[in-house]
Amino acid sequence: MATVTNWIDHLNKPAEEVVGAVYPGAGSTETLLVILGIVIWIGWHVITNKSESDELSRLAKKRHGANDHKSNITDW
């Protein structure tokens, strides 16, 4: 997976080979990483949307008054 294994050897290469990507998996894994990133991003929306909806429904059912929260103000 390592793109560079020896910096001296790498920097001694012709200039056009020195300048380039040096991250692990360069040239072969980028598209896969993007797909993975998009899945994580969309998945986050799906999961947090559900948890927020559940929280809002639960709280709405309790029908607290506008000042009820004042009894929950902590001293710390």
Binding site: G20, Y23, G37, E52, S53, H69
Partner: protein, 466 residues
């Protein structure tokens, strides 16, 4: 980088943008403090989280597609030909500044020893994206779901503002060529579009419960923590310095860039690659800030909330032409923008029952719009670009700055790319039942369960003996 001058220029430019990004981070810190200060106690934590979560959401989408849009869309597509490839299509070919290099899976979107600029430039623009989304965030506090805000933040931060930047900020943008559009420090490109977008959302979202009496009279729901608001706005001012610097290219040889044989002219340039100086824009930043503060204090009768916001509105209004204005012009323009924005805010509030919780539509939207229009008159006749000067509507050359072009540009920014998409997306989210929190939750407070849980923890801890 084997040539010493080239290496120095590159490394300096890399570091310059990196520093602007760090400075601009303060804008977001300021927005978070400001919003929490403006919200009521029972909504504080959700308000904070809503604004904070736009950071990762806009960042990842800016990486996936936002940055690509900026480089792909300068031609419209289909409106004016690119000066790079003479095509009106999306710029996705092998041109030097093609969107092709900024696809999320490109080797330039990572550590690449041949590219010292893409990452810091990407980040500078990303911080602009956060700002655009954060402007919207403040207006809609205490009644929007975090899910809906996340979608709206991505829409304004990674789609619509980047389209407007491609059109009106990119050196190859069609609005420069056809309209002579000029907006050096983003009166319209960031502020008018974000203010317009917020207004579109507010029309659908509706006011907070209690904001208007049964007879329709607006009630003031003032900031709960004026000190947090104060520090927040000072931080936004501070980050704005970084924003101004980030809108410049710090060092550039314009001779070869403009094709002038044997001419070497090293200078800082604005985003359009026309000359300005960091020194000159420092005059104008401070004088327009001062003009805004002076006018705000006067018109709001010393109200701190509006006075601070007016300082910001003053800078925003003068920003379109602050690369060329005289400092006193910048000050007066800042004052005019503040008076118009303040008056419009209260007129719109009463007339249309719009509850803009922090005055974001006024400070960013109206002041930005007015700033673009004024710029068209004050800078009338200046070239919108250094590459080639031509007639308005020509399309293949760059029109000069003019009042009509700026006015049309302001409508595109505020209305076409701002208010309209904000309204449509909010309508869709509302239709799905995802836009607004339930009425009972708004009354109880978004933080009710968190506060209740904290109180129970407090009781348990205080009664504990070991």
């Amino acid at each position: 980088m084997t040539d010493q001058l080239g290496a120095l220029t590159t490394i300096f430019t890399e570091f310059y943008y990196w520093v602007t990004v760090v400075l601009m981070f303060l804008i977001h810190v300021g927005f978070c403090m400001y919003e929490v200060g403006a919200s009521r106690y029972k909504h504080h934590q959700h308000t904070l989280m809503k604004n904070t979560m736009l950071i990762p959401l806009v960042t990842v989408t800016w990486f996936f597609f936002g940055w690509w849009i900026y480089w792909a869309f300068p031609t419209g597509p289909g409106i004016a030909p690119s000066i790079m490839n003479e095509s009106t299509a999306l710029i996705t070919d092998d041109s030097t500044f093609s969107a092709k290099w900024y696809l999320a899976n490109s080797e330039f979107m990572a550590i690449n020893l041949g590219d010292h600029i893409s990452g810091v430039f990407w980040a500078a623009f990303l911080l602009f994206s956060w700002t655009a989304a954060s402007i919207v965030s403040g207006a809609i506090i205490e009644r929007i779901t975090t899910f809906a805000f996340g979608i709206l933040a991505i829409a304004i931060g990674s789609v619509f503002w980047t389209i407007d930047a491609a059109w009106g900020w990119h050196f190859d943008g069609w609005m420069l060529k056809i309209l002579g559009y000029h907006d050096a420090y983003a009166s319209g490109v960031i502020h008018a579009i974000a203010g317009g977008f917020a207004l579109g959302v507010l029309v659908v979202l509706g006011p907070r419960i209690g904001k208007f009496s049964s007879s329709g009279e607006p009630r003031n729901i003032g900031p709960r923590n004026p000190w947090l608001v104060t520090v927040g706005l000072f931080l936004i001012y501070t980050g704005f310095w970084g924003f101004y610097a980030a809108c410049n290219i710090p060092i550039f040889d314009l001779g070869p860039e403009y094709g002038m044989e044997g001419v070497t002219y090293w200078t800082a340039t604005n985003i359009y690659v026309t000359p300005t100086t960091l020194s000159g824009i420092t005059f104008n930043f401070l004088m327009s800030l001062s003009g805004g503060l002076l006018a705000g204090y006067w018109i709001a009768k010393g109200d701190p909330f509006w006075t601070y916001s007016s300082g910001l509105a003053g800078v925003i209004c003068a920003s379109a032409g602050n690369d060329l204005y005289h400092p006193i012009q910048a000050m007066i323009i800042g004052m005019i923008g503040v008076v118009i924005a303040y008056k419009l805010h209260y007129w719109v509030e009463r007339k249309f029952k719009i509850d803009d919780a922090v005055g974001a539509v006024a400070v960013h939207g109206y002041a930005g719009f007015v700033g673009l229009v004024i710029c068209g008159f004050v800078l009338n006749g200046y070239p919108s670009s250094g590459y080639s000067v031509g007639a308005m509507w020509d399309g293949s050359t760059y029109a000069t700055i003019n009042p009509l072009g700026q006015f049309l540009g302001a409508i595109i920014m505020f209305g076409v790319l701002g208010m309209l998409p904000g309204y449509i997306i909010a309508k869709v989210l509302s239709g799905m039942g995802k836009l607004r929190i339930p009425r009972e939750v708004e009354i109880a407070g978004l933080d009710y369960e968190m506060m209740e849980s904290a109180k129970e923890d407090e009781k348990a801890v205080s009664s504990a003996t070991r």
